[in-house]
Symmetry: C3
Subunit: 155 residues, 3 copies
């Protein structure tokens, strides 16, 4: 089944649910809720935070979340400019942009990340979930991660 069977209204209703998925991810990340975060991904997910910082499968991803609470005192993830492109009624590619602020437990300056999320989302049992989530980085300031996936800005 392709996306061509979807009416504009179908797409809008699904888009709203996909936006909610993205908002819940940010919320649970900022609240340090690793279980709720993991529940937003399918079992065979892939999460790419950097060229050398990936997780394949939900268990590997859940492990990357263990450090969130111990590393940061606080984070705030602001997502906007979301554009959804449906591949089929239950599969879509999503692009959005992120401004994230982080405060560390260790004595070091707050950090800022400006980036893009490139997501593949799938609808499973009536729920949109992340199949693949990749963070590309437009720029950062005082961020502890140094190797990021670039956005590929034209020269």
């Amino acid at each position: 089944m392709t996306a061509s069977s979807m009416s504009k209204l179908d797409m809008l209703l699904e888009t709203e649910e996909i936006r909610e998925l993205i908002s819940r991810y940010a919320f649970h990340l900022d609240m340090n809720h690793p279980k709720e975060l993991a529940s937003l991904f399918v079992e065979d997910c892939e999460v790419v935070y950097g060229p050398n910082f990936k997780a394949e499968g939900i268990e590997a991803y859940a492990k990357t979340l263990e450090g969130v609470g111990s590393y940061f005192v606080a984070t705030s993830h602001h997502v906007s400019n979301t554009v959804v492109e449906f591949q089929s009624p239950d599969k879509a590619n999503v692009r959005s942009i992120l401004y994230a602020w982080h405060r560390y437990r260790r004595e070091r300056p707050d950090s800022h990340v400006w980036g893009q999320y490139h997501d593949e989302v799938v609808k499973v049992n009536g729920q949109w979930k992340f199949k693949r989530r990749e963070l590309r980085t437009t720029g950062s300031k005082d961020f502890h991660v140094k190797e990021m996936v670039p956005i590929g800005r034209a020269e």
Copy 2:
């Protein structure tokens, strides 16, 4: 009447109006329009900006707005990640997140607030309004208000 009588389309149409309410609040705050701001709240509203900084009723709230023009040269309130949960067709709980920038009249650094709005909104005479608005603070930098409601991030 419960929310179960609402179709997905009903919810989406109402959600759009609620998002507009939240956008108008930010706009009129940044424009220093206290009258327009107050008109977005019901008479018996409750506004909570901090544990010791609350207003009950629209007159008390209007008084808190008097200082906005004299205290700040400029503010910018950026709201995103909005999630609406309907209690009934004319009542909903809304969560969104805020990045706010402030420039003071007094000689002091610009301040930044990263937070969450937790709102109760009601539809009265065809218009969505704030019944209760609470700002919880994820973090801040150089902000003049020191006591904030925390977001309750898990340890």
Copy 3:
């Protein structure tokens, strides 16, 4: 034809497309895609970035974009709080707010702009495009442009 012929659903579907237009503008600006950016505007467009920094017509606008790649290493444009007011089914006024971060090629601090976009958009051959785009500035820090259109905040 006036906007009164539009149902709420019509407006919502069109609003979604207008939001996408605004998101694409930010994306192509951050990706340094001048051709794709210009394609989002009608031939007889007007773009106002400051009181002395305007472009009339798509060719003049395209020229202003030539410097984007050489001036900045990176930019990130975060748009939210979008409110659409339809004049007719194919014409609308749109207000949104911007937080923009810029990193320069030259040795100088990153800059930040907090502002409002005031747009006139038109639907031509089934595609929403910018007819007029004006950036008003709430405030900025370390930005290289000094003369900006103010938002007109009440005193």
